[in-house]
Symmetry: D2
Subunit: 383 residues, 4 copies
Amino acid sequence: MTRKIKMGMIGGGRGAFIGAVHRMAAGIDGQIEFVAGALDVNPEIAILSGQDLYLSPDRTYGTYQEMIEKESKLPDDERIDFVSIVTPNHVHFEPAKLALEHGFHVVCEKPMTYSYEEALVLEKLVEESGLIFALTHTYTGYPMIKQAREMIQSGVFGKIRKVVVEYPQGWLSTPLETTGQQQASWRTDPKKSGKAGSVGDIGTHAENLAETITGLKIVELCADVTTFVEGRQLDDDANVLIRFDNGAKGVLHVSQVSAGEENPVNIRVYGEKGGIQWHQHDPNTMYVKWLDKPMEVYRTGTGYMGNMAQAHSRTPAGHPEGYLEAFGNIYRNFAKVVQAKLDDSEPAPEYLDFPTVHDGVRGMRFIDAVIESGERNAEWIKL
Amino acid sequence: MTRKIKMGMIGGGRGAFIGAVHRMAAGIDGQIEFVAGALDVNPEIAILSGQDLYLSPDRTYGTYQEMIEKESKLPDDERIDFVSIVTPNHVHFEPAKLALEHGFHVVCEKPMTYSYEEALVLEKLVEESGLIFALTHTYTGYPMIKQAREMIQSGVFGKIRKVVVEYPQGWLSTPLETTGQQQASWRTDPKKSGKAGSVGDIGTHAENLAETITGLKIVELCADVTTFVEGRQLDDDANVLIRFDNGAKGVLHVSQVSAGEENPVNIRVYGEKGGIQWHQHDPNTMYVKWLDKPMEVYRTGTGYMGNMAQAHSRTPAGHPEGYLEAFGNIYRNFAKVVQAKLDDSEPAPEYLDFPTVHDGVRGMRFIDAVIESGERNAEWIKL
Amino acid sequence: MTRKIKMGMIGGGRGAFIGAVHRMAAGIDGQIEFVAGALDVNPEIAILSGQDLYLSPDRTYGTYQEMIEKESKLPDDERIDFVSIVTPNHVHFEPAKLALEHGFHVVCEKPMTYSYEEALVLEKLVEESGLIFALTHTYTGYPMIKQAREMIQSGVFGKIRKVVVEYPQGWLSTPLETTGQQQASWRTDPKKSGKAGSVGDIGTHAENLAETITGLKIVELCADVTTFVEGRQLDDDANVLIRFDNGAKGVLHVSQVSAGEENPVNIRVYGEKGGIQWHQHDPNTMYVKWLDKPMEVYRTGTGYMGNMAQAHSRTPAGHPEGYLEAFGNIYRNFAKVVQAKLDDSEPAPEYLDFPTVHDGVRGMRFIDAVIESGERNAEWIKL
Amino acid sequence: MTRKIKMGMIGGGRGAFIGAVHRMAAGIDGQIEFVAGALDVNPEIAILSGQDLYLSPDRTYGTYQEMIEKESKLPDDERIDFVSIVTPNHVHFEPAKLALEHGFHVVCEKPMTYSYEEALVLEKLVEESGLIFALTHTYTGYPMIKQAREMIQSGVFGKIRKVVVEYPQGWLSTPLETTGQQQASWRTDPKKSGKAGSVGDIGTHAENLAETITGLKIVELCADVTTFVEGRQLDDDANVLIRFDNGAKGVLHVSQVSAGEENPVNIRVYGEKGGIQWHQHDPNTMYVKWLDKPMEVYRTGTGYMGNMAQAHSRTPAGHPEGYLEAFGNIYRNFAKVVQAKLDDSEPAPEYLDFPTVHDGVRGMRFIDAVIESGERNAEWIKL
């Protein structure tokens, strides 16, 4: 019989940002109980963090190894069903691997790993184990992205010719990492973030969005990668020309030094007969453009939305849903698929829709290609 | 020691709309456990609804009377701390009264009661009992509304002169109630909704928003109230001239037959030196206008937001929060105040900010005045 | 044979605002020559103004009486065909009357006259003379307004139920008239402006727009009219409930103390099946809303525009046309109709579309009704 | 003494598009008389076109050579002061050269010539003759572009780091040139358009806008140039990475197959402390972004606009000016400078602001570089 599934969180204690987002996203639909955590590398902070969050003291662990170890010995009905990994990039691989090896399903932050090689290892482990693995590429969780994908892939716009995807932020316009700001520090530290800065942190979102929405694959790219802030160790801006497997061309650009920008992820896709435009700052709206008739403004929660979009919104039109709900869609779908596994049933098809370990591998390949192209003065690199 | 507080829900079972919204809003911040329910008047549906929601069968009640009765006999640590009333208007008063009489705190849907007289009874009960009562006027839960209120009431715009508040919807443009649609049916039925249709359902939101944001009181109004859809028993449109206690003038109009409109609650306030404009469809944005300098675009999650707005958003700028988060702010604040009561401590001041029984009384008075003015061909009625 | 027609301007010299607008509007389409003027009451300024504008000295007149007198004695091919009256309100009637009596066609600023009675006199004169009279209600000159009118009156939205028309400005938020500012001074002076301030200056635009676009007539209104700025002699704000001849209801509000507002004339019209929304700040765009399908964004210059809209735009889609072009449409159409008269031919039907003396009479009636209602504490007044 | 200046037009007769735009732009400010024309290569159409436009028959010429020849023999006060060249690209150079050689000032459409070499010849001729030459890069004529330039070059945003400039159109999404459509035909014909399609037609606008607004020079670029429509002879899409002389990076992309797009030229510029965003579809608005305070919305016609912007708008805030007015600014400034030359006086500094022959040379160099990079699979090419 279906029941709520149980989450153990790795990272996300006091001072963290994305951990709280994961807890809210996991909590919103009432399918998941948050029952255990290894919330900080510092055991003292881990314990205080557990208290903040009303965790039972005996399931507030000092390390993720301890949590995985001990939880795996609890009875089926009691132990966690999955771990949620919300640590910096360099602490994704080991806990994910350990969790999978102990039979736990996994939700993991992106970029999936520190290196492409690690990504391949995880992919193999997931495939062999049959465990469920969700990667939190939040933006594809928005209902309007489901609608865009459905329309584009239905062919209503004809063959896709051009894609413009952008992710400009401004918060790293100054050397924020030198002030001790925690989010800036690890993201600009190659030992924690990997070989890429902005390209990994937000570039992978742009890549994932473009490929998900169009169903096309980037086959080649040429990138101008820059570090604008003096002394910074990783890139903070990248302009990339892209080519897709169907002959479409595109532009992908990301930045963390676009001063004054918040988080306006956006994408435009053009086919022979029309196309779409979507902005994350107004996520419930999509502009649908046509060669020879008025632009249409699609809105989530309306009766004309397709099935997939309908299945991923919670309120009627005009009641804005946002980032947390998009994030929640990944958790909700993941939970439904895990529940089906527990019940030995088939999940409804709409629940199968969340980013997986394969998206994670793809993202790591993208990072490698952009960084390589950047190092070679924007030579074309094949993916 | 602070703990999660426990919710028992009245209404909100299968087929309901707003109950699910309340559960998501209550769940998002991890301060509230949903442990009991009297989810439908039909006991069979109530039980199935409880199963859907993973409620324990022994706390899935057939009636709200039973729930209140039985829960009040459970030990302090186990029983519900409050009831959440999410039924149609005519079933607000009795359960609220019963809950208060049994010492339970209350969250209640708006308009607060069926009649103004009932509202006064509840107000008295709340005052006498010292219990916490929250009314879910969602729109004032948005962080940007906190910011607007703070700026307007600080006097930066000088004396307020004009307020324009609108709540146009289109979903009742046709006689939807004749098709059996549940939401339309009770809202257009005077036995369930009260003497007002659109004026009660959404007009009270507009009134509450205008008074909350400006800190002014409507002292007089003149209303043109219309039922456009043939056969409908209650109003579906109202245009109202309003006058405030400081001499400001205003326009308030609401409609459920503005075909093509979703839920664009919006408000503009003008003072001597500038003013603000806010649209619920883009709730994280506020336009701040000035006599002699460029309009500014305020955005939630930014560093320049005031303390109250900061305390009511959960994510950095550019990560849209929406209706559920605004709703969640009411529940979060209510929970914090109840927790403080349990701990015998003082809640932080930002948590004291949610609509109360007094807003409910005010809303019922507004309904009476608009309907009376409408019946007298738009005579001025004093509030 | 068709030729350019010749304009003599009354008012609009140095220091004036709207005269220059008229000259640009008249010049844009190459149908009108500006050949004579009585540009200021002060003959010295009139002469300097004529020099500024490359007018021939012998056709730069000291008074409008002199211009009308002398021009009427010039040969047909040489003399002016029409006068353009761009003076303050109290100097509309006399020159218009004199021009008509001398056989000149007239373009006149709005509101048409100082009083309703004068308006009726002009109407009679125009009817009896068969001369062409255009009133510069600019906003109905926009191509998108033609489109709105065509769609609404075609019935695609069903019966019209609600109209919201707004004209908020902020430029008179302070007692600007006390600083000697010329535009503010006459507009707030009852001896020059008439009995109304904002209601005449911009309220008539709102009224004209609402009636033109819907084809409905306002039959009754109730108005809350206010002077917010201390010491001001005329109204600077008005909120009006309106009722139309088909049973539609509406709200019309205008203000010159909405601090921070520029000139955002806007209108929303709702019918049974959908409706439109238009904002003058973005005049080439119209939002077309539907009960059950996505909102459409109509844009001028596109292939799907109707004939009337097509006939009133000059450039392809995406080349913004603005206020001067809308103004120019009135002059262009007026010129084409005068040319047809000179040729004794029939003008193409699209050229017959400009505001006339009847719009002027209607506007003066509207002013009277609003001011009367305001004086009677918002009693309903029939038009 | 200052007088209107006299224009002779080359091209722009019946069936043409841009000629009418030039005439409206030249007519709007009352500084220019249109007195002569060689309006079509077909003399019969040229004559009919002259009649349409009320040209005197004796100054309606069959060829531009004839016009230049005959006009140059007329008395100073009678003959044209300048020619306006509004023909397809391959007929810019010869008439411009001939006009300059006969002492006429020139207004010329862009791209300036058919080839870079021709551009250099014209540049030399202009420099040697001291004649005035204006190139109609319309978009830099907008008042808000003046404001953007002033702010950026004042340094308020710090050092510029990133520029994103876009010019997507959709009108060539189908093989329109095969239908005989005149505008499509010559633009896709290498014999008339030159070596570039979209890159010349609209890419040069983007390049000119980016360099004008920032005061920076593109020093290097790498371009992915595509022809999407089968059978088309020239490019219809280009994605370009750009590098500026101060180290700034950028993206420039243009397209005529972005189905559903009208003419949304737009630019974003980011400096260390903030930046700007401007969209041609809403040309009177500019978004000014800051690292640490609310975005500001600048609007033309307001008191806070800088001197240059003020000098290039004609109406108060909220009266939209558009494409024709921007175009008019080029003609007005050109006229003022020619008038000053006739008067042997110094033009006011604001009139010196229009694109010149040097912008034309720069544009031709840009075309060459983009096309070369495209042919070499997006190698970096230095300008």
